[in-house]
């Protein structure tokens, strides 16, 4: 089960980015998981929770977005959902797909984090002005 390795990689990457940005707590992470990425979302969610504990990601929510596999045919330019198990020969003309357009993503799309006590001049100035 490599979901633990994947979860740890996600946590590690977000941790590093959070640290560099001075974020103090990560609230949520959007992760795109392709149908053909070879990752089981449920087991990833389970591992993610474990991997977060004791880090700046503790308690963060993992929002996984499943990305369906899509392929394109060269000769007839047909595009189709490959399904599972995937059909990588063109349903129209039978040729091998020219390319897989989507479906192998394993990508941290975005995060939402707290950036800590920002030295916010507006917040301090307002009481003084009153």
């Amino acid at each position: 089960m490599h979901e633990m390795s994947i979860a740890m990689a996600v946590v590690g990457q977000v941790e590093e980015a959070a640290q560099a940005a001075g974020a103090t707590a990560v609230r949520s992470i959007r992760l795109q998981v392709g149908e053909l990425a070879g990752v089981v979302p449920d087991s990833l969610a389970f591992c993610f929770e474990l991997a977060c504990s004791g880090t700046v990601l503790e308690g963060a929510e993992l929002l996984t977005e499943s990305v369906p596999g899509r392929a394109r045919c060269g000769p007839c330019a047909d595009e189709w959902a490959v399904g599972m198990p995937p059909e990588l020969c063109c349903p129209v003309c039978g040729a091998a797909a020219a390319e897989l357009l989507a479906g192998r993503e394993l990508q941290i799309a975005g995060v939402c984090w707290e950036e800590g006590p920002v030295p916010a001049p507006t917040r301090e100035r307002i009481p003084e002005e009153r």
Binding site: S5, I6, E16, A21, L36, P86, E105, I108, E114, G116
Partner: protein, 279 residues
């Protein structure tokens, strides 16, 4: 203050970078890696024993590294061929990663090695996601595993550059349907070559070695549809992911917030969230 940040990082970017570097480093010294993937018991070690012995007879400098969760039996078997063999105990880890492989090659891999065979951990799911810097990826299945194996493990078979059927000596006894197997392989990986072997009878002996040697000599290996993709790994050169290919996987992304092409998204995201999260 909660801030939405558009990171756009491939989770396996670190491994992919490592793999690219290892492939280039090895290519520069004339070595290619052959990555062997299968379920436990498919016959990787048995086939490899035979191919290593053949290579030695042909005077082709080869070496083998075998990964196992806990035992050293495979290395002992492979070492009988007389070629350099190294055992890697993954200590429970279900797959090899490029960085681990690279570290194991230092101080071990003989300089003149042409082909390095890597017997990956017996598992068709996890190792499939990790590029090891190989130039030829081989998925194996024995005749006893069912014709639908490629459909059950589409990522492993879909990314293979060569498919090897093992234990053909018992194909008839177990009623192996070769045509059905081939059709299933073609469904997930059109155009990939399927070869039939038996370490026991010697059928197909040398085929794996021939294919690997051809790639080492510059022949183009099969490019699977699944590997030929336009997703994040390849289309974002010049975008967020380019940073990671330059080495500093994460260094660049903090800058991305105030600097480069991501800035609009960030600004917008930050504003929206700031509003949403204000008490």
């Amino acid at each position: 203050m909660c801030r939405v940040v558009d990171l756009q990082q491939a989770v396996l970017a670190k491994n992919d970078i490592c793999a690219h570097e290892l492939r280039a480093e090895l290519a520069a010294r004339g070595t290619i890696v052959v990555n062997l993937l299968s379920s436990p018991g498919s016959g990787k070690t048995a086939l490899l024993e035979q191919e290593l012995l053949l290579a030695r007879r042909r005077g082709l400098p080869v070496a083998a590294l075998t990964a196992d969760l806990a035992t050293e039996n495979d290395a002992v078997r492979l070492a009988r061929s007389g070629v350099p063999v190294k055992q890697v105990l993954t200590d429970g880890l279900c797959h090899l990663e490029a960085g681990m492989l690279g570290a194991h090659l230092e101080d071990w891999l003989p300089e003149d090695t042409r082909l390095l065979f890597v017997e990956n951990v017996g598992n068709l799911v996890c190792p499939a996601s990790y590029d090891l810097g190989e130039s030829l990826r081989v998925a194996l299945a024995s005749v006893t595993e069912g014709e639908d194996k490629p459909l059950k493990y589409p990522t492993a078979f879909g990314l293979a550059q060569l498919v090897v059927v093992t234990k053909m000596d018992i194909a008839e006894a177990v009623g192996f349907d070769e045509a059905a197997f081939r059709a299933n392989v073609q469904q997930v990986n059109p155009g990939v070559e399927v070869v039939l072997t038996s370490a026991r009878s010697g059928a197909g002996a040398g085929l794996l070695l021939d294919r690997a040697a051809a790639v080492a000599d510059g022949a183009e290996a099969h490019l699977p549809v699944m590997a030929h993709r336009t997703d994040a790994h390849h289309s974002h050169h010049g975008g967020g992911e380019l940073h990671s290919h330059e080495g500093g996987l994460l260094h660049a992304h903090p800058n991305a917030q105030d600097g480069d092409g991501h800035s609009h998204a960030h600004a917008a995201g930050a504003a929206t969230t700031a509003r949403a999260h204000r008490p």
